[in-house]
């Protein structure tokens, strides 16, 4: 990996890592015994170990001068590995927290392992660790292939990938220590947030500069979504995380938003983290890996335009559906509801576009488990957006809010859509990235598929059941006009479903482990394919149209 850098670039990398190390040292010194000090040590270790890695190869041979006429794939490979590592970590934490809800003593009488601290390690681990690494890795792959140009930087892709992972590490280790802003999906504290801004701006610049090098006049649909993902997440992140630290030596900060305004900012952020992190970026994957795998062009260009702008415009209004019947003014709730329902149109336009693309390739869906992952993802995308629009209607939300129904909806989206499209994309990506003829074991892909389907269905059905039951029990009256059930009655009724959910989650986790093994063996044991190597090069002006791009 370092071998691909020239000595000048190696030097730059070392300088950056030195800066990281010094920043860590400063944090450790200023923080002392505060968790900020502990995080300083982690930052130092991070900088030092990567620095050692660069040093080890510092005097190695210079890279092939020809390298610039190839795609830059090393950071993508590392990104795929990190995606899988975070998937296993994040889903393991999911299974553990799920089990804690059924068997509360699984926190073993320690502070760091109670449900409240572990839950954000799960959400951050899967959304940012698993999802984020998958997005960065695939975006690097897709933007190069669809632009037929090499990434516009040698060190910056590494900076983006590893810098983002440093953010994830700081976030997750922080929760174990109790460092959290408590803002859902934005729990990391101010210094980690600042760091993420630096990383994200670099990402944005790198992505735009690569697009600027494209050999195609048009920017491909997938890249629209990646751009929306990068730009809007930056806006959301900065506004939601504005905060005043109590001192520069302490992790704790107070957000500048208070009370009802804070609630709206948080859910404007929270819902659009769903929209632009868990949806837009993954739709980008759909728009690239689906046509590639199905070997068919996207069904309709117009539908692509309609759904893209619909999603970009409507989603930002929808956050207030998380606040129905609360102290948030009525008019904002109604706006949120209205736009959430309208959102169904662009959402189903995307899902429909995907399914109609498969029309004519159903035999491939039947035979190819990878394509089936993508197919199921599109189905669950349609399903969970329908469910979401439905739950955003006030009277429906009166029942579903605060219950496990929300959790069921989340995981219909997160497992059925996000994880399925990710695994489908990775299975498509891995052989072509490592120039292998095929995956190590198609049978294991099949096993993973069925584990994932079973896990998702068990998870989602148990949460639908428990959520609706819970919601109904809370509002049931006796004939005398008093509440029929205590809160505790509803909790007792949840236990069977909590156990079922933990089992479903375990199946899903096993699937992810199977995937990691299969991918590892593909890289280790499958013979290289010469054909891939020759055709998969950027357009340097010498061989026009050599690379395969998906049609619009």
């Amino acid at each position: 990996m370092v071998q691909q850098l020239t000595s000048g670039e190696r030097q730059n990398a070392l300088i950056i890592l030195l800066c990281v190390f010094v920043a860590g040292l400063a944090m450790a010194a200023a923080g002392g015994s505060d968790p900020l000090g502990m995080h300083g040590v982690i930052v130092m270790l991070f900088g030092a170990s990567l620095g050692a890695l660069v040093m080890r190869s510092y005097y190695d041979r210079q890279p092939d001068p020809d390298r610039l006429s190839h795609y830059y794939d090393d950071p993508i490979k590392a990104g795929v590995a990190l995606t899988l590592a975070w998937a296993i970590f994040g889903m393991f934490m999911g299974v553990w927290t799920a089990a804690q809800l059924a068997w509360p003593d699984l926190s073993f009488d320690a502070g760091w392992s109670t449900f409240g601290r572990l839950r954000p390690t799960h959400t951050t681990g899967v959304i940012f660790g698993f999802g984020g690494n998958a997005l960065i890795a695939t975006s690097f792959h897709v933007v190069q292939r669809t632009s037929r140009a090499r990434l516009a930087g040698q060190v910056s892709p590494w900076f983006v990938l590893l810098g983002f992972n440093l953010f994830c590490i700081l976030a997750v280790t922080g929760y174990f220590m109790g460092v959290t802003q408590s803002k859902e999906y934005a729990e990391a504290e101010w210094y980690a947030d600042l760091w993420l801004v630096v990383v994200w701006v670099t990402y944005f610049v790198l992505f735009l500069r690569t697009i600027a090098r494209r050999k195609e006049p048009h920017i491909y649909v997938a890249n629209w979504y990646y751009m929306a993902f990068i730009v809007v997440v930056a806006i959301l992140h900065i506004v939601n995380n504005l905060a005043l630290p109590i001192s520069f030596g302490q992790a704790k900060s107070y957000t500048i938003w208070a009370g009802v305004q804070d609630s709206m900012v948080q859910w404007w952020y929270g819902h659009n983290a769903v929209a632009f992190f868990l949806t837009a970026g993954f739709l980008a994957m759909l728009y690239y890996y689906l046509p590639v795998r199905a070997q068919r062009p996207i069904f309709s260009y117009r539908l692509s335009i309609l759904s893209f702008w619909g999603i970009t415009f409507f989603y930002m209004w929808a956050g207030s559906h998380h606040l129905h019947y609360t102290a948030l003014p009525h008019w904002v709730q109604n706006l949120g509801m209205t736009f959430s329902v309208m959102l169904l149109v662009p959402s189903w336009a995307s899902a429909g576009n995907a399914l109609l693309t498969l029309n004519g390739a159903w035999h491939r869906v039947r035979d190819d488990a990878t394509l089936r992952f993508i197919f199921v993802a599109a189905v669950f995308y349609g399903l969970s957006t329908f469910e979401g629009s439905f739950m955003a209607i006030r009277p429906v939300n009166a029942l579903s809010h605060y219950t496990d129904w929300t959790v069921g909806h989340v995981h219909a989206g997160a497992l059925g859509w996000v994880a399925f499209i990710t695994f489908g994309s990775i299975y498509t990506l891995v052989p072509s990235l490592w120039k292998r003829e095929r995956m190590y074991s198609p049978a294991l892909v099949e096993v993973h598929f069925w584990l994932a389907v079973a896990g998702t269905l068990i998870y989602v059905f148990s949460m639908w059941n428990s959520g609706i039951l819970q919601g109904l029990m809370w509002r049931t009256y006796t004939q005398e006009g008093t509440l029929a059930y205590s809160f505790l009655d509803s909790l007792v009724a949840m236990y069977p479903y909590y156990i079922a959910r933990a089992c479903g989650g375990l199946l899903f986790l096993l699937g992810a482990i199977v995937a990691a093994y299969n991918i590892w063996m593909t890289v280790r044991a499958v013979p290289a394919s010469a054909a891939e190597r020759q055709s998969d090069v950027p357009d340097t002006g010498l061989a026009p149209g050599a690379a395969a791009t998906p049609a619009e």
Partner: protein
């Protein structure tokens, strides 16, 4: 026509990014900006007080432990919620909350009005091991809170940061932050009087965890739980709900 326009837009990366920013900004601006300018968004409540240093420390422990992941603090305007938990929550009640802790999931019950509902003793027993008092509960045990001394050294900094953000802490409150924290959990100490003087007669001063010699995280968390829903009486006068305010002397 529209398609032709889009074909052009697709050819410029910067143009495309600008279009994304424009399309994505509208919703947030329309929904968030007026919340600051329309003054009926947050009701008037002259009796609303700020958190004492001990309660604020307790609130930060509530955040640190992630209690908000299972408990909401927002009673919706629905009949069953009002009957179960008390008058629905008003915006003014979380006016000083940075961040707000309305929550999104009720694995456990809502806590917006739990203040005064149970005794301090019950809370301590419950936090030590929920299953001692509620056998069916799935809440984790927080025994370590009673063993951990509360760090009062930086309370001044907490209050000062809040003051900088507009929470009406007076300079006297900031100067006495640490002694007020101690005094609120030690009713017979000379520091107790200052607490009610600065934060009002209704402020609950008691030996929350039952031990006055040491100020623990348990003291702080229970002090916070006991003030939930009791910073102002606005919810009892401004809403149609028939409930009476709970008796502050439990």
């Amino acid at each position: 026509m529209a398609e032709l326009f889009h074909r052009k837009l697709e050819r410029t990366a910067i143009g495309f990014v600008v279009a994304i920013i424009a399309a994505a900004s509208v919703g947030g601006i329309v929904e968030i900006a007026p919340l600051f300018t329309i003054h009926t968004t947050v009701e008037e409540a002259p009796d609303m007080r700020v958190y004492t240093p001990l309660e604020l420390a307790g609130r930060n422990i509530y955040i640190r432990e992630g209690c908000y992941a299972c408990h909401s603090q927002m009673i919706r305007t629905l009949r069953d919620e009002v009957e179960r938990y008390g008058p629905y929550s008003l915006a003014v009640e979380s006016k000083y909350d940075r961040p707000m802790l309305w929550g999104s999931k009720r694995t456990g019950p809502d806590l917006a009005r739990v203040g005064g509902k149970y005794s301090d003793f019950w809370h301590v027993a419950h936090l030590n091991n929920p299953r001692d008092v509620v056998p069916e509960s799935n809440m984790p045990a927080y025994r370590f809170l009673a063993r951990t001394a509360l760090d009062t050294g930086d309370l001044q900094r907490h209050l000062r940061a809040q003051q900088a953000l507009g929470v009406p802490y007076t300079d006297a409150m900031i100067a006495n932050a640490a002694s007020d924290a101690f005094g609120q959990a030690a009713p017979d100490s000379p520091f107790a009087a200052g607490v009610t003087e600065r934060y009002g007669e209704k402020t609950q001063v008691s030996a929350f965890d039952g031990v006055v010699t040491q100020l623990t995280e348990m003291d702080a968390l229970v002090a916070y739980l006991q003030v939930l829903g009791r910073l102002t009486d606005a919810a009892y006068s401004n809403t149609a709900a028939p409930e009476q305010a709970p008796d502050p002397t439990n």
